[in-house]
Symmetry: C2
Subunit: 637 residues, 2 copies
């Protein structure tokens, strides 16, 4: 997820973009979200989630694993799954971005303390890992399919990049450099010709190459990418597509297999394509993204239909009730779209990022930031049950957020995303500044002609007005580009008293700005009905309600006592509306029925009563306690 | 599956039925299916499948495991999963039923050879198992959750019951008796207070009690049943409902968790309820069955929606494309319904048996009987891929039948079901004979007043006429009961030239029969449209076509080249019809579309062309080669 800092500039390696320079990110210290929806989540993340994650990692023994390697006792005492190390690294990355966004000696001290703890586990040859290679353990790299050794190192490298982009060199960067060198020595052109079952090392290496300027890491990432897809890994029950080892990346048409694996790998491939000037690869990856979004993505932006293998399903296999939509796949999707946005400048990538941030990533944490959804179903049929606050939870069996998981990848993934979120707001290019995500914020950007500073004021996504004040500007003409979301038909932009209609896509204001100029974007955020494609079987005959970038849902707490959300049916022409407390819609409540066999010679008719229901943003579901829930509401045609 | 012989009579233990005597089975040697749909499958089973299973068990080393236990080398060489032993026992059961139905010295020799091979692995105290307790292995009963030790013994007991019901005592029965005694000694009232993670020992014990007359085995089965549901087994990711250890069986409202586990357990509970005279338990089990059929069963009779944990989903969670519907769950469902039919006389149980036999059990094997479906999806979105003939296959990843599986429970389960199928045709009671399943066959039954012999002639399920000739009859009046399937509205029964309308349910002809009398049943088997309940989200806006007891499906091979079954839409009023070669239906073929996002502000409209499609019985799907398939056809309303 370190992509916000890609090309940041302080220690940037030579960057060779494929196309006439696309977009460059704004440095993390130059953009600040100051209030509103995301500011609140960033605050909670900084003051609760980071500490929560560190507490749990101590509690379940994942931190102690590093101590035990140093003490030589790890063979007897190791705790957690193969990838437990990566959680410590993702926490370090999150802490580093938080410190980069707003330096704090306490954060820095925690980073350094964790770094010392890790350092002692690194061997003289640079290898670092708590699961293999120590006395009483299997040998290093003896299980490439499931061992996650390189996956863990990839996250270590991403954490180090976050340090490189902020405090420059420190001990964590040294550890990472030695680990990366060990990987290159072991898996280089003349080394072991294999890949890791879980892509991630590729991402870490390509970012580390950029941040350090050392091209060896880029070439190693490229090697791993090119090696994949030839049946390098063993066959498994779900097929080699599970770890994208079924076909070479250049031959694939769509993302498939384990969703997080597929998305991390594709994100890394975009970076490699950009840094090696491989335009053909980039176009292939754009097509894979487009096919995946067109046929294998939920309304929420969620990806991955299967619980069993946490995998993408076939085209249009998007069951609402068995949606897996892992939070980490949402984070990974944001990472991929961000890289494609930077590489191409196409704002449809920013559209999907917004959808996924609001309707997957923001769904996961509780308002307190100390409990999380691992999977994000679109339909909860059985009343959810609360998790005990002090118990690690199975991944996806509960309909309530849980404080921790045996496989606890999601909390730290949310933490590192929120810690670096301000970097996603805007980019710069040769021609000006592009604002992609709307939040009350300040954005600074260095154009060739001089410094730009913007102040954004908005109640988005509750309200559709976004007011951008130019606080500082070069004298020369430049372009301010605004993203008009794909759903925002009827948007307008007001510049210096003149109002212009703005169609979905990129809207550009080109002019000589003066300090104090105001650009006002008005997005139509009234509630709207959305229909699914007829090929998505699971939600045929239903509609969803969206409002601005938010997907809404119906919870049983909004219905008469005892009613199930599945009894609620919308009549033809149902029209959701804003009311004082939120979105309301009129529907019909079917009587509960008790038939002996759910299939019959005639459509079943049932007694009905008129009712109105109050819908809530999906990201807030289950906050009111256990119940049933659905996004796609039954609809009479 | 040995239930066909329950109460058979040769060596029957005292039976204490709960209700005024319900139904008694016909002995397996007294009923013979002589031609038609099931006769063909029985022939293939006898002449191909039994040998195929024995070949594969030798090939993958599951037979050799028994030799290795005797040789003391098993710790180093054991092959297969924890439950590999059970496959050998299920094969023995299938061979035994085949031999019982039509004695054959070759079959008997194979049974005895396999028995000798097993015998050498039994220890002096009666324990038998190849996975635990030998040098180099974990101790016996050290993994009650996943070890399957008692599960294996349960299948051994069922195999022995098949011998007891046919050749009476032999070596296999001795082995089983010693194994059962060991189980009673180890897990009895003063023994280890636990249960096996996979129910099956309960079924084996209760049947073995009946067949031997030894009530200790019944009481041990009862102990296992009563012990379950108190969190005896460890918590697992999917919850203790996975192995029905979440709530006591008397408190459960519906089947849940792993489908095969739930169905085996419930079948055993019916037997225990009958043999202990526990009418309250029987009524609870009837309610569980009814709730499961009303809310958790596919149109095909298939049970189990989840791939991940092979489990029942929530009520109405019945996705067609991710239907698991394990073949073994179909077999187990037939076992459960059969026991409830015997215990209550209610023919709705025979209805579900018919549905499940035709649309799950018969779907699994290829026409040659040497390849099998493990899972039985109702919708195949991606063209299926063929399995190599000489390779064991993953369970459910292919859309084609495979010769063998790493977890290969289904082939032997199909084999033992087909070998004993004729026992399901009819039952007797104090008042007469009940015919439940229709096939060209001869059925003999001993009534108190004398011998009955029936000859059944039919082309069912292709044709709806069933002609029953009374070949032998007592002089006294008796009742011939015919099952009118629930779908058969408009059936008629013709007795001695007089035609009477017969409603779905039990139709009884009570009279003094004379040899040569003919009763003619006419079932309306014209193709019909079936609608799903509005709460089954996954198939809303679709209909299925059924014809008689058969569910039909559309395969892409029936459409213009390149078309996907998902493009086929039925107009309002679509009417399937019998044509010369089968069932034809007129529909509309939508043009393939390529949208960027499958959700929109208006329902999508697409170009369409009229087309007719030929539907095939679901049991024959994939016989024409790889393609896409669906049972539930999109339907305009």
């Amino acid at each position: 997820m370190t992509s916000p800092s890609v090309h940041l500039g302080q220690t940037v390696a030579p960057v060779v973009p494929v196309e006439p320079t696309p977009l460059m990110p704004v440095a993390i210290g130059d953009a600040h979200i100051t209030s509103g929806f995301w500011a609140q989540r960033q605050r909670v993340n900084r003051h609760a989630t980071l500490q929560h994650c560190e507490y749990w990692m101590g509690r379940v023994g994942w931190l102690e694993n590093f101590d035990a390697v140093a003490a030589g006792t790890i063979g007897d005492v190791r705790k957690g799954r193969e990838f437990a190390d990566s959680e410590v690294y993702k926490l370090l990355e999150a802490l580093s971005w938080a410190h980069a966004a707003a330096p704090d000696p306490d954060l820095d001290a925690r980073i350094q303390a964790l770094t010392e703890r890790i350092a002692q586990a690194q061997t003289a040859d640079g290898y670092i890992g708590t699961k293999f290679g120590s006395p009483g353990q299997e040998p290093r790299y003896s299980d490439m399919e499931w061992g996650h050794e390189l996956y863990n190192v990839g996250h270590l490298l991403q954490a180090a990049v976050a340090r490189l982009r902020s405090v420059r060199d420190d001990r964590l960067v040294d550890i990472a450099r030695r680990a990366a060198d060990h990987v290159c020595a072991t898996f280089g052109p003349h080394g072991s010709q294999t890949v890791c079952g879980h892509p991630e090392i590729e991402l870490g290496l390509v970012e580390f190459a950029r941040a350090t300027g050392d091209q060896r890491y880029l070439h190693q990432a490229e090697l791993f990418l090119e090696r994949r897809g030839a049946g390098t890994l063993a066959e498994i029950e779900w097929g080699r597509s599970y770890f994208q080892d079924d076909v070479p990346i250049r031959e694939a048409q769509v993302l498939r297999g384990h969703a997080v694996r597929a998305l991390y790998l594709t994100a890394a491939a975009v970076d490699v394509a950009v840094d090696t000037g491989d335009g053909e690869l980039l176009r292939i990856l754009e097509r894979q993204w487009a096919n995946t979004v067109a046929r294998r993505t939920y309304l929420t932006g969620g990806m991955g239909s299967h619980h069993q293998d946490e995998a993408f399903g076939e085209d249009f296999e998007l069951p609402a009730d068995r949606a897996y939509c892992e939070t980490c796949a949402g984070v990974a999707s944001v990472m991929l779209s961000w890289r494609l946005l930077l590489a191409t400048g196409d704002v449809r990538y920013a559209d999907l990022m917004e959808r996924t941030l609001y309707n997957i990533v923001a769904v996961s944490p509780s308002p307190e930031g100390t409990a999380f959804f691992y999977a994000n179903t679109l339909h909860r049929r059985a009343p959810s049950t609360a998790s005990a606050d002090d118990e690690a939870s199975p991944r996806a069996s509960s309909g309530m957020r849980a404080p921790w998981f045996e496989v606890s990848c999601c909390p730290t993934n949310v933490a590192r995303t929120f810690a670096s979120l301000s970097a996603y707001l805007a980019t710069t290019s040769a021609s000006g500044v592009q604002v992609h995500q709307y939040a009350t914020s300040t954005i600074g950007a260095a154009l060739d002609s001089g410094q730009v500073r913007l102040q954004v004021q908005t109640e988005y996504p509750t309200e559709g007005a976004i007011v951008i004040t130019i606080d500082e500007t070069p004298a020369d003409e430049w372009e301010l580009q605004l993203r008009i979301p794909s759903w925002a038909t009827g948007a307008t932009v007001d510049v210096a008293g003149e109002t212009t209609p703005a169609s979905p896509g990129a809207f550009t204001v080109r002019r000589r700005f003066a300090a104090g100029d105001v650009v006002r974007l008005e997005l139509p955020i009234a509630p709207r009905i959305t229909y699914p494609d007829g090929r998505v079987d699971a939600v045929r005959g239903t509609v969803a309600v969206e409002r601005g970038p938010l997907v809404y849902c119906l919870e049983s707490v909004a219905l008469p006592a005892g009613a199930h959300v599945d009894q609620f049916v919308l009549p033809t022409g149902a029209d959701p509306r804003d009311t004082e407390d939120g979105v309301t819609i009129d529907g019909i409540l079917e009587a509960a029925r008790d038939d002996a066999w759910p299939y019959s010679a005639h459509p079943t008719i049932t007694r009905r009563q008129q009712t109105s229901a109050f819908l809530v943003p999906y990201h807030s579901w289950a906050n009111q306690g256990p119940g049933t829930m659905r996004i796609w509401l039954r609809h009479e045609r």
